[in-house]
Structures are given as structure tokens and as C-alpha cells.
Amino acid sequence: MIMSNLDLNNLGNLQKVLPPDWPGGFWWHWLVFTTIIINAVLILVMAFIYIERRGMGRMQSRLGPNRTGPFGIFQPVADAIKVLLKEDIVPDTADKVVHWLAPLIAFVPTLMIFAVVPFGAGWSLAGDLNVGVLYVTAIGSISTVGVFMAGWGSSNKYSLLGAMRNVAAVVSYEMPLVLSVASVVLLAGSLSLHEIVQAQSIPFILLQPLAFLIFFMAGCAEINRSPFDLMEADSEIVAGFHTEYSGMKFAMFYLVEYAEALALSALITTFFLGGWQGPLLPPNFQWLWFVAKVFIVFFVMVWTRTTLPRVRIDQLMGFSWKFLLPLSIINLIATAIQVLVLPEGSLWVMIPVNFTIAAVLILIGSNFFTPGRGRVEV
């Protein structure tokens, strides 16, 4: 009893020293969540690599890695140790500083995205940041700079080509991505990721099916996932921007690729699938719902990768500028009108309306849009 009184007194003194809007647990909050986020990213990336290799193996009628540990679950660990012990080769003609800094600049922004993603009720480093969506879109595009630095610094023409294709894809798909998030913001009425999750009494995938599809496709194009992975297309430009990388620096780019996939899955979960909300589980275990939804979204990404063939550069650009962009603008206006016209609390009316809009727009749009044919000079 005396001890707890003393503790309370100490806490009171501590709070007098700090400015009034800094809560007492500032450093603890930062320490706990930084540790959780960095560890969770590493562990989930390993799980993703395992899922991708095994899932792709199954879908391509082969086994996938199955020798390291039970069912091959230690394969990512073995890969990490192997890559750590490899020689680091830098080309003589490379721009050494740019070549060395590129993995750093590509990885840090990817890690920064997770600072605002809530994975439980109030569980995030800064989930109630009131400009959360803007923060995510701003930070998320910076890793492109790292990728371009890698392509430029390698002194390799194929790397430079891959890096340019990456920048072109990010520039093209940024608009549909951002506009489809804007329609989610319209429904939630807030830019804070935490409030967007709390606004989803009905998951927004039902209210915004078209925005979900556009966000998924544009996101896949931005993070170089197949079928939009022509910036590292093995059959055309060796390995794209990371051809000249080896050892740990190559591993960093590998990590960036999967950390971006994880970030995209987490953002889709937050914006469209109701985030950490879910039935059955007690409040302290709702992060399990979040992790489960992230895995489901990533599985769909693996599925599309094995199903669809790679597109060509003119098809990639045309698909964004002539199909996704007009659709996302029309969807945004339609959502704004619905939000204004429909009375408060009648969200369920939007479900049939928006599914109809999505079907009609996709049918009309696909009549007008034709992917390019014949030979194209790239």
C-alpha cells in the first residue's frame, strides 16, 4: 500500500516536469510500440515469404521448399543466414555512395508506414494522427526514390531501365490509388486511420467495392507485384534495379519488397476490411483479426501473381490513365453525392447502389478500353 502510494507520487512529479500535452507514458509507449512494430514486420515478412513460396509451389503443381524444419517453415531463416554470409560485390564503375544508401532509403519509409496502422483498439504508435491518410500516401511514395537510386547507382543499363519503369508505374498509379482512398475518407469523415476503422460498422469493401478493386490493383502496381512487375521482369531486364546487389544489401531489397506487400495488406485491411474489428475475440486479442485479414489479403496477392501473365509497359500505363483514373474520379463524385443525399445511419442503402455503380462502370469502361496490340518499342 505504501509502495503504490510512493509510485503514484513519483508519477505525479514526473507529469509536472513534462509539458501538459505529453502524457506520462510517452517514452514507454514509444519503446513498446517501436519494438513491437519492427519485430512484427520482420516476423510477418518471413511468414509472407514462406506463404508465397509454398503457395506458389502448390499453385504451380510442385512442392515448394519443404526440407528446412517441419514443412519447410525455417526456409526464410536459412535464407537470411545464407545471405548474411555472402560476399558483398560492388561494381567498379558504380556510384558507391548512391549504391550504398539506396537500401536504406528504400527500407526506412516502408517501415515508417506501420507507425500509423492501428492493430487493436488504440494499439498503434500514432494511430490517432489526424492526418494519417495523407501521411501514409506521402511516406509510401518515398521508397521509389531508393529504388531509383539503386538503378542509377549500379551503372547498369538494365537496372536503370527497371528503375525508370518503376518510377513510371508509381507516377501513373498514384492518382487512382489516392482517389480511391479519398472515397473511403468521404465515408469515414476523418483522415485518422483509427477513426476510419471505428467508422466501419459495415466493412467499407461492401460500401466501396470499386474503390477496393482500384486500390488493390493500383497498390499491386506500386509495389511491383505481378502482373505489374515488369520493373524486375526476369525475361527482359535480368532482375531490374537490384541486378548489381549482393549479400545483405540484396536482402534489404528483398525485405523491402515483402515489407511493402505487408504494408499494402495492412492498409487494405484498415481501409476496407474493418481493421482489427471482428466478432468472437476478447478486446485484448483483436489484433489476431488484424493479422488474419492481412494474411487473407496477401494470399489473394499470391493468387493473382500465379494466375495472371505480366503486362507490357504500354498496357501498364494505358490501364492506369485510361481505365482506372476515370473510374476512380466518377466513383469519388458518386460517393460524395451519396454521402450528402442519404440520411445519417442508412449506410446499408449504399451497398446495392455502389455494387450497381461498380458493375456498370466496369462494363462501360472495359468497352472503351483496349490494351495495346502488336509490337511496341520500349
Binding site: W30, E87, L111, V116, M164, V171, E174, M175, W321
Partner: protein, 123 residues
């Protein structure tokens, strides 16, 4: 607000330190002779696709990318105005919607101009 950005700033420092640590481990392992380091001219040549590279690397790039970048710049500025509007549409009401429709109309005219001029065609 201040707390959030304080957390994010400290987290940025932690993320940079973590990445530097990851990149630094092989350097330390190389110093204690665990990771090999035997450079030679052939190994350190530019790989490309296995054949010797011809000419210099930093060549002129394809001009078509430039058009896309220009159209992107023109349209992306729009979004900076769309986000605050989207967050507070319920209080702004129909006036806000009409204002944004005018803004969108101007941007769409620019987009249609680019489309008619065949800037968005890959040719």
C-alpha cells in the same frame, strides 16, 4: 498532435538505426574474416546480362516518361485539395461539393486535352 509527431520522429530515428545495423553486420563480419572479400576486375565488372557492357551507362532515357510525369504533376496537385474536403464534406454540404466539382472540371479538361493530343498513347 505533438505527441504523435514526437513518437513518429523518434520512430524514424529507431528505423534508421535499425537499418544501419542490418547493413553494418556484414561489414563487421567481413572485418573478422567470416564473410569473404576477394575483389577482382572481372567480378567487379558490370554484370548486365553476362556480356561486356557497351558504352556508358547513364544514357538518354525514353522521352515518353516525361509526358506522364507532366500530366501526373498537373493532376496530383488536385488531390492535396481533395483530402481536406473529403474529411469534412458532411459539414461543408452542397456548397463544398459544387466547389470541388468546378476544381475537378478544370483538371478533367486538362486530362481530356492530354488524351486528345495522344500524350497518353505509348507510340
Amino acid at each position: 498532435m505533438l505527441t504523435n509527431f514526437g513518437h513518429i520522429g523518434l520512430y524514424l530515428i529507431a528505423a534508421v538505426l535499425f537499418t544501419l545495423l542490418m547493413l553494418g553486420i556484414p561489414i563487421i563480419l567481413r572485418l573478422i574474416k567470416v564473410v569473404p572479400h576477394h575483389p577482382n576486375p572481372i567480378k567487379n565488372a558490370t554484370f548486365e546480362c553476362g556480356v561486356d557492357t557497351i558504352g556508358k551507362t547513364w544514357v538518354q532515357f525514353n522521352f515518353r516518361y516525361y509526358f506522364y510525369a507532366l500530366v501526373f504533376l498537373a493532376l496530383d496537385v488536385l488531390v492535396v485539395f481533395l483530402y481536406p474536403w473529403a474529411a469534412s464534406l458532411k459539414t461543408l454540404g452542397y456548397g463544398g461539393l459544387i466547389g470541388v466539382l468546378v476544381l475537378l472540371f478544370i483538371a478533367i479538361v486538362g486530362y481530356l486535352y492530354a488524351l486528345r493530343k495522344k500524350v497518353l498513347e505509348w507510340q
